[in-house]
Symmetry: C2
Subunit: 229 residues, 2 copies
């Protein structure tokens, strides 16, 4: 019965094609301005078919967003899988997040929507569940690494690993949204380069969660890094 399987594959393929079309339109126009009719046209399908594969425009939006989350998760996981010292891995995680933001700004922008409580109600429970899982996958990398840092006495033990994770994450994320939205305004009106502020914030925040031992090790890492380059 290879036919069933072929059909399954084709269906999956069509789902991907639809996401690709949706991505193109959403990237260009954003959730509000994009129309399902246009997505259908780009996908060379009728609107009805789109709705056969995705229950709502919002579901489709999140399906695109999930592609972005997957990219980020893979970046994180490949860093965590490496054999460098914990602190170096953590620094790299921060750098990777910023790199993701710069390279995949359009995906990054989509992440906001899932954070909007109002948005959740317009989405099928299944898609909500998928997004939730995807989120957890990303967080897991960060939290596991921080836990290792705590266990080794490098990160302040009065912090729980998820606490430290959400601290670091938040301080970066908010600045990135700001960079995305009003980078020029800050440059012109205040003479401030927000990307620079992001770097400084990352460093300050990171050092703030380290123990004395962690700080010493971090200093040493910085030196050996600067020797290399």
């Amino acid at each position: 019965m290879g036919i069933q399987e072929r059909k399954e594959r084709e269906k999956e393929h069509r789902r991907e094609e639809i996401i690709t079309a949706a991505q193109k339109v959403f990237f260009e126009k954003g959730l509000q301005t994009a129309t399902v009719d246009e997505i259908a046209e780009v996908a060379e399908l009728s609107k009805g078919t789109i709705y056969l594969y995705y229950k709502s425009k919002e579901d489709l939006y999140l399906a695109v967003m999930l592609r972005g989350k997957d990219i980020l998760a893979e970046m994180f996981e490949s860093i965590v899988a490496g054999s460098e010292p914990v602190l170096l891995k953590l620094v790299k995680l921060g750098e990777a997040y910023q790199e993701f933001f710069k390279k995949h700004t359009k995906y990054f922008r989509m992440f906001r929507f899932f954070e909007n409580p109002q948005f959740h109600t317009q989405v099928t429970p299944e898609m909500n569940e998928l997004c939730s899982q995807s989120n957890q996958r990303v967080w897991k990398s960060v939290i596991d690494l921080l836990q290792e840092g705590i266990d080794r006495g490098l990160i302040k033990s009065e912090l729980k690993a998820p606490e430290a994770a959400v601290m670091l994450w938040s301080s970066s994320t908010s600045l990135m949204y700001r960079i995305d939205a009003e980078c020029d305004r800050w440059k012109n009106m205040m003479g401030i380069d927000l990307e620079d502020v992001l770097l400084k914030t990352r460093r300050l925040m990171f050092e703030a969660i380290l123990t004395q031992k962690g700080l010493r090790e971090y200093q040493m890492l910085l030196q050996s890094e600067s020797l290399q380059s």
Copy 2:
């Protein structure tokens, strides 16, 4: 010619009534779900009249948001106007922001929309300008105070005042959005109280921007505060 003036007042009054009606509906339903028809009904006016006073639903939304911004600006300004030491004022600013978030969550939630670059395009330039001014007003309090801190050698001079401002602001804001959206999730899945994390982050971030001198003064302030309570 008191009639002209009376008419002017009445027009302004009507604008306020419309905002009040809009606020009620937006607070209940959010931007997406709220309809202009419903706002008109609550305001006991026809839809056409609403559009006489505000060019679009989005403009109306921002007009409501501005009320929130004004509340926040006044809270900040009354702290800055006080005669306490700079560092204490800064701490109070942070506390005030969190208090605003807790008391006026609905307004706070609206702030997000103005940060969305996609949203700006759907709004009249005049309203954009109003929002921009309102934003500046809030930032001014914080930046001025930080500048004073820098001048007095309490805050690291390698930071410019607006840089420090956006650092502090961002690290709090992002956590507040998270608290608003998924506080329970974090409590249940990780056993983490995000409000607690917010407090810790505020403290860490604040200490991270202080000089040695600033830190000493801050410690002393904490002691005299704890004596009082």
